[in-house]
Symmetry: none
Subunit: 229 residues, 2 copies
Amino acid sequence: MQNRVLLIEDDDELRELLARYLTNQGFTVREAANGRDGLALALGQDCDIVVLDIMLPDINGLDVLRELRGQTHLPVILLTARGDETDRIVGFEVGADDYIPKPCNPRELVARLQALLRRIAWDQKSDVDATRTYGDLRVEPGQRRIYQDDAPLELTATEYEVLQVLLAHAGSVVRKTDLMQWALGRRLEAYDRTLDMHISNLRKKLGNDDPPRIETVRGLGYSYRVPAV
Amino acid sequence: MQNRVLLIEDDDELRELLARYLTNQGFTVREAANGRDGLALALGQDCDIVVLDIMLPDINGLDVLRELRGQTHLPVILLTARGDETDRIVGFEVGADDYIPKPCNPRELVARLQALLRRIAWDQKSDVDATRTYGDLRVEPGQRRIYQDDAPLELTATEYEVLQVLLAHAGSVVRKTDLMQWALGRRLEAYDRTLDMHISNLRKKLGNDDPPRIETVRGLGYSYRVPAV
DNA sequence: AGGTCGTTGTAAAGGTTCGGTAAAGAAAAA
DNA sequence: TTTTTCTTTACCGAACCTTTACAACGACCT
């Protein structure tokens, strides 16, 4: 696979050196010498990963990153001055995936690029908006509805979220703390029985089968049973 | 989301320092002081991310990583001696996701952990479901179930943990104190027969074979013998 | 051999925590 | 407002971890 790297770096010499090296390593390289151009290219969609210098003549690299993160999750590796710990940590907090201290070893840059791309390739996940089917249930994220045998279930907003999360993980256990976070958007506090109630109501609406579709894993969470195919 | 970090580091002081810091930051931390235990825990316990020291007393950290990569894509951050570029690059080539030079700043470690977790957050089930097989037993961490000849064993949470730890160390003896710590999460006190009871119940559920699958090593602990296939 | 001591096996009892759910209350939507 | 949805409260039963008690075993000593 030919990976496309966008290199945002104002030092012409360094940029060209890296560009040459990356090209030799099999990457397709696109270059920008300042933040404005870089941002435009990055948003232009045709690259897989961005190498971004923090020190830029016009816009600060961190601002470029911030801007980028507002619109995309494109992987970004920061180039920082060696030893500047603040930049690095702020960089991570703004959403960088990695950083390399300057002056940098091209081999290390390639290694990091590949580590990050490998990770992403592995994580490439299915389309969130696609309709998914689990046995007799069908999730239609577009309409925020779930159908059972082509009849829509009358779910409340929260119930939809809970069931949808369970289905997305069908067959494996979803911890209560995660289910709470993902479906209700808040932390699970002690003595909070909200989730239990939603599960109870969901089971009722799904038809209280035996064995139950939503299985309790005591002390941990719940799991939606994969229907035998 | 409650993230679970496995910390593999032999320096007790550093390990405990980091463990405390990470716990304060909201992570669930599990610790190992050497490569062998670390590997077993990484394969066994479900954790979301591994922090791995390269210099370990028994197995080299890179070998631990190699072994791990043979079976899973669990994200791994390497702890390397500052300036040792070779280790870093080899680490990336073996499949590490990131590295931090020692001595490390805990804030930076957290920032990197979060950057990596954010990156993989899209895909929640990365590969927690790496199933492992030991003779006629099959561990399905995603479902938190263990199957014997394709029939699920009806294990309680603690029984699952205990058996799973024994299996991860299959063929070698697990000391009672370690088993207690890893499976029950607390120290083994005098006159505490809890563990013995769980073993007894497990044996019953596994079918009281002769010779027993879970072997007693008097004065030491237990060991799971993988039956000849 | 027999005796003592520490360790292990296990049945049964004890006690605690956890989850299910009805019903009431609070909050949000209509 | 009324209606719907979400959350809290409360009680119960079940699951299950732990303790207790006793029997069995092994190691070591005399």
